[in-house]
Symmetry: C2
Subunit: 197 residues, 2 copies
């Protein structure tokens, strides 16, 4: 390669991001360099800013710039409904659909025997605590329709059985489907048609 | 969106990069945030570093971290051959093939009546000056096989006719093909089989 060492290092690091390969990383870096004042510098500034301010919400596990995320801090969202998702990408997908007005609980993954992920590696104890401490009327298990997702949903349902209304997304989530890949309409339909467990 | 303003701004800016859309930008940003110390911060540092150091080589138009790029500064590459390319991505593609050991001249685009790009908007005067001033034995016109690329090649050939050996990439470059999308083998074959104009 003829580009200087730093440019190469930048391309290599960009190429490790999901959705980018070596070719698109090269094109992205060239584009950023061509638009240095409009892209490269502002992007670097934003990244530093986000890096310095981003944190996990102590309540729900969402990411934001304060100890309590915008959703947990918003009293209008104290509807008594908690929607349990695997990760922040799923929370974003649900927020884009705009149909859910309650709060979330981000597990940070799924139970997995293979990867030795148990309940304590996820935010499951915190979820149980929230159901005890907050005025929670319903827990919506919006986990992916994968084996690990459904195993995790069943485990949580067992833990919370009899304490709160438990529902799960119903219509529209295809077998093996992941929330983050669904269109907003499908997510809206699935949430509207949620069923009791 | 539930992400804080800075995170959203970062996603929007990433989504403007070539090869990334809103979905892949969201996934990339989440991944960077999850691996903050390994990805987000080092990437921001590298971008700042590149932003502060990157410049165009005054000789050939390649990008690097000094006034004269690594290739122009390398005496071993003073072979008398200059390979003329449209942009830095094409230079990188040729360098990856490893077959060309001379120097480059990056035009910074192609002549285009539609976009009102004339010879002076490109580095064509500088190319003519290099052919006059340096010991140049051959100019290889490695322009894309597009209408504008070939128009530009003919214009340069007219300007340099009789002063230097002029060649162009031959075999292997498909009609309408762009160098940056070709595999290394095709580029190597095209360069080896280059023909006189
Ligand atoms: Zn929260
Ligand atoms: Zn140079």
């Amino acid at each position: 390669m003829s580009s200087s060492g730093d440019i190469e290092a930048l391309i290599e690091m960009m190429a490790r991001l999901p959705g980018l390969g070596p070719r698109s990383a090269r094109r992205a870096v060239l584009q950023m360099i061509r638009k240095k004042e409009l892209m490269l510098i502002p992007l670097a500034d934003l990244m530093h800013h986000v890096g310095a301010s981003v944190r996990d919400c102590v309540e729900c596990g969402n990411i934001g710039s304060s100890t309590i995320c915008d959703i947990c801090a918003n009293e209008k969202r104290a509807t008594g409904e908690i929607c349990v998702v695997e990760d922040v990408a799923d929370l974003w997908a649900l927020e884009r659909s705009g149909v859910f007005r309650g709060r979330y609980h981000v597990l940070g993954g799924t139970l997995s025997a293979l990867d030795a992920v148990g309940p304590d590696e996820l935010r499951i104890p915190k979820l149980i605590q929230r159901v005890q401490d907050e005025a929670v009327s319903e827990v919506i298990l919006a986990l992916n329709a994968t084996v690990d997702g459904q195993t995790t949903a069943h485990y949580i349902a067992d833990q919370l059985e009899g304490r709160v209304r438990l529902t799960s997304l119903a219509q529209g989530v295809p077998i093996g489907g992941e929330l983050d890949y669904l269109d907003d309409g499908t997510i809206t339909a699935a949430l509207r048609a949620r069923k009791d467990l």
